[in-house]
């Protein structure tokens, strides 16, 4: 808490310091014909699997530009590689802001990487929009008024799992496996928040893995050995698939709660073996284009047509290309609403006043919604159960307003 306050003080002083230089009129990077948007992502390095998001966003801008742009302005998308290394992110972001003079940044990837530029962006008062990470810290309008997340945050998902366990397995023994980094730990925090004291009572075993681990077989064996009948699996697709396979191999059949990051038919279930993934419970907020559920869905068909035309090299089975498409539409909505006032203040203001905006590829009934005090655009999710062919949604849309 003291740390938070310290940051708050730092930013206020910074704000007063820069008050004189605040710009009137349009942001840098905005001309009558163009809006320049910056981005950093991992085209290389350990997180390069996410690189396709920025590529699909780039394709999205191609489509926007071909169809007349936004309010007559075309989008110039400057996306740089940071290899998921925080110092490199800092360098690339400064390059974007100070050299390229982008109007704002959008969908910069990763928690540690965005953390490295969090203060910088707020000090410089450059909108740091819809960052591609589910950490909770991107929604603090008071202390960091220029930074905003997008996807439902990891803690929310953790809380959903926690509540689900409380309701359905009040006496279950729970085993948890998570990636040993901020992403994994955030889920656990969310679970603890929802379960309170029950977390310590019900969770019989926690295991972690590193992204560099060759396999997680040993973890699965020891989780099975704990005698747990509920398994909360917080891992990326590669390890989720390994886990599903190994569990099947050693005959461990707990209730399997899998995090949304890996809830993908093509990236996780198919590699693991479809029949082995049957019964997995997960949550989601956008459509898995590979799920037969959306075979004839007009929304998904539009996405497919778009993929064919604008991102032919992209993999239509890859859920992340739908993610990129959806987040790009959110950005489009903000820019449309901003009209001709493309100052950084107004862009931020518009981003913070999305009212139930429908976004393609989100699950039915979901929308993006923000306010000056609510910097979490997507907060609804729905639970799913994989029945062997499709992820069947069940239960209501869960809206976890983050405090």
């Amino acid at each position: 808490m003291t740390k938070l306050r310290k940051i708050a003080i730092a930013t206020t002083t910074a704000a007063t310091f820069f008050a004189g230089t605040a710009m009137a009129g349009n942001a840098p990077g905005v001309t009558d014909t163009e809006i320049m948007i910056g981005n950093t992502t991992a085209y290389s390095g350990p997180a390069s699997v996410y690189g396709t998001i920025a590529k699909s966003i780039s394709a999205c801008w191609d489509w926007v530009n071909e169809t007349g742009g936004i309010n007559g302005r075309k989008i110039k998308w400057v996306s740089l590689d940071d290899a998921y290394s925080p110092p490199k992110t800092k360098e690339q972001i400064r390059k974007l802001v100070e050299r390229e003079k982008v109007a704002f940044t959008f969908q910069t990837l990763g928690t540690p990487t965005n953390s490295a530029v969090h203060k910088y962006m707020n000090k410089k008062k450059v909108p740091h929009l819809f960052v591609a990470t589910g950490a909770t810290k991107w929604g603090q309008p008071k202390t960091f008024p220029w930074t905003m997340g997008w996807q439902p945050n990891y803690q929310t998902v953790g809380a959903i799992f926690g509540n689900y366990i409380l309701q359905n397995y009040p006496n279950g023994k729970v085993a948890v496996m998570y990636q040993n980094d901020d992403y994994g730990k955030d889920y656990v925090i969310g679970m603890k928040r929802a379960m309170g004291d029950k977390y310590a009572m019900q969770v019989v075993k926690e295991e972690t893995y590193e992204v560099t681990d060759p396999t997680i077989d040993s973890q699965i064996v020891s989780l099975k050995n704990s005698g747990a009948d509920v398994f909360v699996n917080i891992s990326i697709p590669k390890f989720a698939a390994q886990a599903i396979k190994k569990m099947y191999a050693i005959g461990w059949k707990p209730a399997h709660l899998l995090n949304d990051v890996a809830a993908s038919i093509s990236s996780t279930y198919k590699p693991a073996g479809i029949e082995k993934a049957k019964g997995i419970i997960s949550v989601d907020f956008y459509k898995d284009p590979n799920d037969p559920e959306w075979k004839d869905d007009p929304d998904t068909n539009a996405w497919r047509a778009w993929m064919d035309k604008y991102y032919p090299g992209g993999d239509k089975a890859n859920k992340m290309n739908a993610y990129g498409y959806a987040v790009c539409h959110t950005m489009m909505a903000v820019l449309k609403n901003a009209g001709d006032d493309l100052s950084r203040e107004n862009i931020m203001k518009q981003a913070a006043s999305l009212h139930e905006v429908a976004i393609p590829m989100l699950l039915p009934g979901m929308y993006a919604d923000t306010s000056p005090t609510d910097f979490y655009p997507l907060e609804q999710m729905q639970m799913t159960r994989f029945d062997g062919t499709r992820s069947v949604r069940f239960g209501p849309l869960i809206s976890a307003e983050t405090e």
């Binding site: 973890q219 990236s267 590699p271």
Partner: protein, 290 residues
């Protein structure tokens, strides 16, 4: 008890991965007296080539040898084309070229095949072994193939003139030339062999860990650990070392340190073994009296 057994066997299965890589590491060390840091990436690239051929509809048992041959040729070509002009450059310059190859293969694989994981078929049936679920057929098969490969390599180095010449060229290139050995070709051959073994390793590992461009990043450290523990001069030691590391890592993770410090465990293991037995558990101490 069953828990212990399962951890041990799953350690053996992981160990088979490490053993494969360790074997390739020791091979190239024997052949060129260096470590090739791009070795893992080369193996990954070979595996992608195999995957691509299967996507085109070729059957596994055809793909396997074809991929090994392609990798062998690739290794030879890399040595001839890229290292040929800089044979006389300092060793560290060679290391830089390894790093360059590392980036190139990783980057190219990502460009061509993307970073999403790909299932890679196993040549072995998905059945329980002896009616237990303790170890998968593939894991058993992998251990078997690794051992077969080891025997073949042993025979090759021990009993064929070419094998002997390769060892000589690596250990003492000047003397090797003086008995008429073309050190350049031996180096190329060494690269070819190492690439071929890497390809086999890659194709065996991929079904367990899934194929993706970063597949070998984490494995390489354990492969090195296996090679060091077993002894860099001994292919057999490397294989044993790989298994040992796999089992030790699992048991330590399960009973002692938890899964959070596995890499640190590998570090301690490497440094510890090097301190206590610098030549590795099975390596020979090289003596030269003067």
């Amino acid at each position: 008890m069953e828990y212990f057994l399962q951890q041990t066997l799953s350690g053996l299965a992981n160990g088979a991965i490490y053993a494969c890589v360790a074997l390739a590491v020791v091979m190239i060390y024997q052949a060129i007296d260096h470590f090739n840091f791009a070795q893992g990436e080369m193996a990954m690239f070979s595996t992608f080539i195999a995957w691509q051929m299967m996507q085109w509809g070729m059957p596994f048992w055809l793909v396997f040898p074809v991929c090994v041959v392609i990798s062998f040729a690739g290794g030879v070509v890399i040595e001839r084309v890229i290292f040929g002009p800089i044979h006389n450059a300092p060793v560290l310059s060679h290391v830089i070229v390894f790093i360059a190859l590392f980036s190139i293969f990783n980057s190219l694989a990502g460009f061509i095949w993307e970073f999403t994981i790909k299932p890679f078929p196993s040549p072995f049936p998905e059945k329980d072994v002896l009616g237990t679920n303790l170890i998968a057929m593939h894991e058993l098969g992998m251990i078997g193939i690794t051992l077969v490969m080891l025997v073949m390599i042993y025979l090759f180095f021990r009993f064929t003139p070419i094998g002997l010449a390769m060892r000589a060229a690596a250990a003492n290139p000047v003397s090797a030339r003086l008995v008429g050995i073309s050190v350049k070709w031996m180096l190329s051959l060494g690269w070819g062999l190492a690439a071929a073994i890497g390809a086999v390793a890659g194709m065996l590992i991929a079904p367990m860990v899934y194929l993706e461009p970063n597949m070998m990043l984490g494995i390489l450290l354990y492969g090195f650990a296996g090679a060091v523990v077993g002894g860099l001069t001994s292919p057999g030691g490397a294989v044993a070392g790989g298994f040992l590391v796999g089992v030790a890592e699992n048991l330590a993770g399960a009973y002692v340190i938890g899964s959070e410090l596995k890499l640190t465990f590998a570090l301690v293991l490497i440094v510890g073994v090097l301190l206590l037995r610098p030549a590795g558990l099975f390596g020979r101490v090289v003596v030269n009296r003067v």
